[in-house]
Structure formats: C-alpha cells, structure tokens
C-alpha cells in the first residue's frame, strides 16, 4: 500500500468497521487487521464498556471515527455539545480522522437516524460550506464527508454530486470518503452511470473508500450493509482505488453481521481486486451473487441496530 494518498493523509490499508458483536473476539485474538473504523455515536457519550473497549483497541490499531448524526445539511443549528464531545473522543483515542455524511438526519429538533439526501444547488452549497467550516473550527481538523446512498432526486438540484463535493472541498478544504457501494446504489436508483460519476469525482480529495453489500430489489437497490460486496461494486472499487493511489479502504457490514473472520476475509478480497483481477474474474470470484435480484422482503437501508450493545448478554441476576 502507498504511504499516503494525493490528499496527503496516511493510507491505513484494509480495515473493518468496529462492531459490538466482535468486541470479545478482538480483545481475545488481536486479529491482523490494518485498522478499525468506529461509529462516533457509539462512544461519545459512553461511560461504560464500549468506551473502555475502544480505548484498548486504540492502543493497538489506528482508529478512524465515522459519524451518523452530525447532520451537516440540516437547517437546525449544529449541535455544539455533540461536536465538543466528538472532539474530546477523537483526541482521546488519537483518531486518524473524523468523518460523517453529506446528508441531514433531522430537523426541528428531531432525529430520523437516517442519512437523508440534500438537494444540490448553490444555496445548499453555501449553507453546508458554512457549517463545515464551523465543524472544522470546533474539531480542529479537516472534516471528511461521505457521499450517501440515495433513493430520491430533487427538482431543486442543479448540480450533480461529484461537482457539489468538489465545490464543497474547494470552499472548505474538507476531505472526502468515497463509498463505492453508495455510488452504485445511487446511480442505479437515479438511472445514471456510475463510471461517469467516478470520472467526475474529485479523487485528489479522497482519504478513504467504503465498501458494503446491498440488496437488489429489481426496480431499485437498497444500501443494506448486510451481505458480501457485489462484483459490480468490486469493479468500481478497483477503479476508485487506482485513482486515489491507494486510499485507506474499509468494509462496512451492519446487518446479519457475520463472524469476525468472515468480515475480515471479505475486505482482504480487496487485495485480489487491487492486484488486477479482471472484471470477468471478479464476477467469478464473488461467491455470493449479490446482484441477483432478491425477492426477499426489502430490508431496511443502512441498518442501525448494530449500534446498540447486547445488554441482555452482559448482566446477571443474583437471587441470593
């Protein structure tokens, strides 16, 4: 892996998302993973075991914080208390960077716990850029923003997403997390070309890539994070990885979370992809044909129940 990407940030290699169900495995086995991405909201308010575990893991692995509640595009005021606690956590564990999504999660004081899309136009750019600057001032580091998966298109949009993100980076010097699965999902749902999306993307700003699985429902694709990465997404990843000169890569798997080794093996498959496996061979390599149209009931997009600890398994009753 190269030492750094064009944005000048260190390339961390191949990592996996840190999930509660894998805590014990990691603490017992210290697996040979390059790095972990921790969901910020799981830890910023934690006074219990999750934060203790994160501190221990951070002693041995590089950690990146990835948020889901920053709500950078909301018209509600930024939650400064949240940001200060996020900074404290990032400092405490030496987070390599802090990321979230180009989205809004709520308005009028409410939180949908979903990554909701924004119309992309000049006024929204101005709005988001001002908030990114405010966030960066509080965090005292560049913010890294991810392209979300989307299911709707707005009449009010006048820019495409790559152009919007490029302008946002130029206005704020923020960095980007390119989720290649989200590119595939959003482009399919909008009827646009994912390769054209990549051609327009400002790769010089990318510090990280995301991989994940999705559910193909025939008429649309849902970003479910609950299965292996599809062959088509691996191909997009190969292109994106080359264009970033080897950005840090992370696999997200949030629903039907498999044993840790399965998760790790899936992200290690990136090595074969990076090594130049052809598109045809990739399609063969993909043991799970994730592109098969799945007639099963539509799963929830971007599941979030993995954020919750299995409290029931960690308490006892002493009838004595």
């Amino acid at each position: 892996m190269p030492a750094a990407n064009p944005a000048g940030d260190p390339a961390l290699g191949l990592g996996v998302g840190l999930r509660n169900v894998h805590f014990e495995h990691i603490l017992r086995n210290w697996p040979a993973v390059d790095w972990f991405e921790a969901i910020s909201e799981n830890f910023i308010d934690s006074g219990g075991r999750p934060r203790m575990v994160l501190r221990r893991i951070a002693e041995r692995y590089p950690i990146v914080l990835h948020g889901v509640s920053l709500s950078i595009g909301s018209t509600d005021p930024l939650n400064v208390r949240y940001l200060r606690r996020l900074k404290r956590l990032a400092d405490e564990i030496g987070a390599r960077w802090v990321s979230d999504h180009l989205c809004w999660t709520g308005v009028l004081g409410l939180n949908s716990h979903d990554l909701l899309p924004l119309p992309l136009n000049e006024a929204v750019l101005e709005h988001v850029a001002a908030r990114v600057r405010q966030v960066q001032d509080i965090l005292e580091r560049p913010l890294v923003l991810e392209n979300p998966s989307t299911y709707v298109r707005f009449r009010a949009s006048t820019w495409d997403e790559p152009a919007f993100l490029r302008a946002l980076c130029e206005a704020t010097n923020c960095r980007l997390l390119l989720d290649v699965n989200n590119v595939y999902v959003s482009c399919f749902n909008a009827g646009s070309d994912p390769l054209a999306y990549l051609d327009a993307f400002p790769f010089e700003r990318v510090v990280q890539l995301h991989l994940a699985g999705h559910q193909h429902c025939g008429t649309h694709i849902v970003d479910t994070h609950d299965r292996a990465v599809s062959a088509q997404v691996w191909e997009l990843f190969r292109i994106a990885w080359q264009r970033t000169s080897g950005a840090s890569t992370l696999l997200e798997w949030d629903g039907n979370v498999p044993p840790f080794q399965t998760l790790h093996n899936e992200v290690l498959h990136a090595r074969a992809v990076i090594g130049g496996a052809s598109k045809d061979s990739l399609a063969t390599v993909a043991a799970v044909d994730a592109e098969a149209i799945n007639s099963a009931r539509e799963a929830a997009s971007t599941p979030i129940d993995f954020l919750l600890p299995a409290v029931m398994s960690q308490r006892t009753w002493s009838p004595a």
């Binding site: 909201e41 308010d45 006074g47 219990g48 075991r49 999750p50 203790m52 909301s74 018209t75 939650n79 949240y82 308005v107 009028l108 004081g109 409410l110 939180n111 949908s112 716990h113 979903d114 909701l116 924004l118 119309p119 006024a123 929204v124 101005e126 709005h127 299911y151 709707v152 298109r153 707005f154 009449r155 009010a156 399919f188 749902n189 909008a190 009827g191 008429t219 649309h220 849902v222 539509e298 799963a299 929830a300 997009s301 971007t302 599941p303 979030i304 129940d305 954020l307 919750l308 600890p309 299995a310 409290v311 029931m312 398994s313 960690q314 308490r315 006892t316 009753w317 002493s318 004595a320």
Partner: protein
C-alpha cells in the same frame, strides 16, 4: 439558512413519521427515479425509518418484546415512535420515554380496575430501561472501592447503583427470557432491587423491604449511622441490635458485591 431547504426538510421528515399523511408539497419536490415514481422512491425511506427504529427499540426491550409477542410489541413500538419521535443524536436514548409512554397510554387507564398484565409490562419496561441505562452510564470501575476493613464512615453508595421497586418479579422474568426458558407472565409479587454495575457487568440483587429502606435512607444521607438509626426507629428494634445485624449479616456481602464506594 435556506428557507426552501428548511421547508423541504420539514416536509420530508414529517413524511417519515406520518407516512399516511404526506404533504403534497414533498411529492412535488421530488423527481421520479429510474424505475419508480417519486412516491415509491420516498416510500423506501418511509419503510426503512420505521423498520430500523422498531428494531432498535426491540433491542433495548428484549424481555418486554418477548412478553408482548413480536407483533404486539411492534404495534406498541410504532405508536410510541409516532408519539415520541427520536430527538437525540444517540440511539441509546431511543427507549428513554418508552416505559413512561406505556404508563400514560395504557389501554385500561380510564377503567375502574387496572389489569395485571399491563402493570407487569410497565414494570418490565422500566426495569429494562434501567439496565440499559446503567450499562453505559458513567461508572465507578476505577474506584476507589472499600474493603471489609474500611471504616463505616467512609462507605457511600457507589454512583453506578440504582434502587427500584416493582410489583412483579421482573428480574427473574428477564433472566428466564435471557436463558431462552420462554417464561409465562408472572403473578404479582412486590420486589425491591439493587441494580448496579461493577467491572462493566450489570448485576441485580433482590433485597428485603427493610434492607431497601436502609439503602434508600443511605442514598439520601450517605451516612451509615443515620441509616441505621432510621431502621431502628422504623422497625422498633434497639439500635444496638440493628447495628449488630448490619455488621454481622450484610456489611461484608454488600461491600464484596460492590454496593459501596470508598469516600475520599
């Protein structure tokens, strides 16, 4: 701030919470997808919203979900989420108002007599919320912890400890669900519990009414001597007897169990 953006966000968020009463303005703001019309595109968000939050609420109340059965729990969850949509950045807070909401909306709230099974559900939900909260609350893992040789004047209840009373044996029921024993709803039997976290493990201890009063007084006064005096007066027993019982019967066990912190 863009007024147009604010309006769009307000419409779209409302469309998630009340999908059966979507403001036509939101539909007009959307373009059709590649293979779906605009309302079908929006419906993907609407379905996911309730699915994921319902699932999360169930994760926070597994015993209550077991007691109600999954379909009825889902119906309660949907009503709760509609009445109390989440506001916190943390999903850990999702179920914060659920036990109180159950109390306030219980179907027999205006009936002359309360139904036992509803009392049990409310109790169980309160107990589960307490467990969930203590799991990640600011703890006392770093001490300092007392030993059995510590002076009584240095003993205070540790901060990650809660005292709770219920009309039903919720802790046993919860434990049976955890052990996959498919317990039937219990009959009423008042109980007093100490719920605490030590070494990142949450433990529930049933205690007698007398012990519960002692601990409640101690929680208010953080003074063993005052709590013993209160028990002597309340039980009409000589203070010496009460003190001897404290020293001989419970003190060491409670210190070992992590009831106390050592005051600095």
């Amino acid at each position: 701030m863009s007024a147009a953006l604010h309006d769009l966000q307000r419409w779209m968020h409302q469309a998630l919470i009340t999908p059966d009463a979507v403001d036509p303005a939101i539909a007009n703001a959307l373009l059709p997808g590649h293979r779906l019309i605009a309302s079908e595109c929006l419906a993907i968000y609407q379905r996911s919203y309730i699915l994921r939050l319902r699932m999360c609420l169930g994760e926070q109340f597994p015993a209550t979900r077991h007691a109600l059965g999954a379909p009825l729990f889902a119906a309660f969850a949907d009503e709760y989420l509609r009445a109390c949509p989440p506001s916190s950045h943390s999903l850990y807070d999702l179920g914060e108002r659920f036990p109180t909401w159950l109390t306030e909306t219980r179907p027999d709230r205006e009936a002359p007599e309360r139904e036992d099974w509803i009392d049990f559900m409310v109790d169980l939900a309160h107990y589960e919320r307490e467990l969930f909260r203590l799991f990640d609350a600011p703890g006392f893992e770093d001490g300092p912890w007392p030993t059995t040789s510590s002076d009584d004047r240095t003993l205070v209840l540790q901060p990650c400890l809660r005292l709770a009373s219920y009309q039903f044996p919720v802790a046993r029921y919860y434990q049976d669900v955890r052990a996959d024993r498919s317990p039937a709803p219990p009959t009423g039997a008042p109980c007093h519990l100490v719920i605490l976290r030590r070494n990142y493990e949450t433990v529930t201890y049933p205690v007698s009414a007398l012990h519960f009063r002692f601990l409640s007084t101690l929680q208010q006064t953080q003074n063993i001597e005052a709590a013993l005096a209160d028990i002597a007066q309340w039980s009409r027993r000589p203070l010496n007897d009460v003190t001897a019982s404290w020293t001989a019967d419970v003190r060491a066990a409670w210190i070992e169990a992590g009831f106390f912190a050592r005051a600095q």
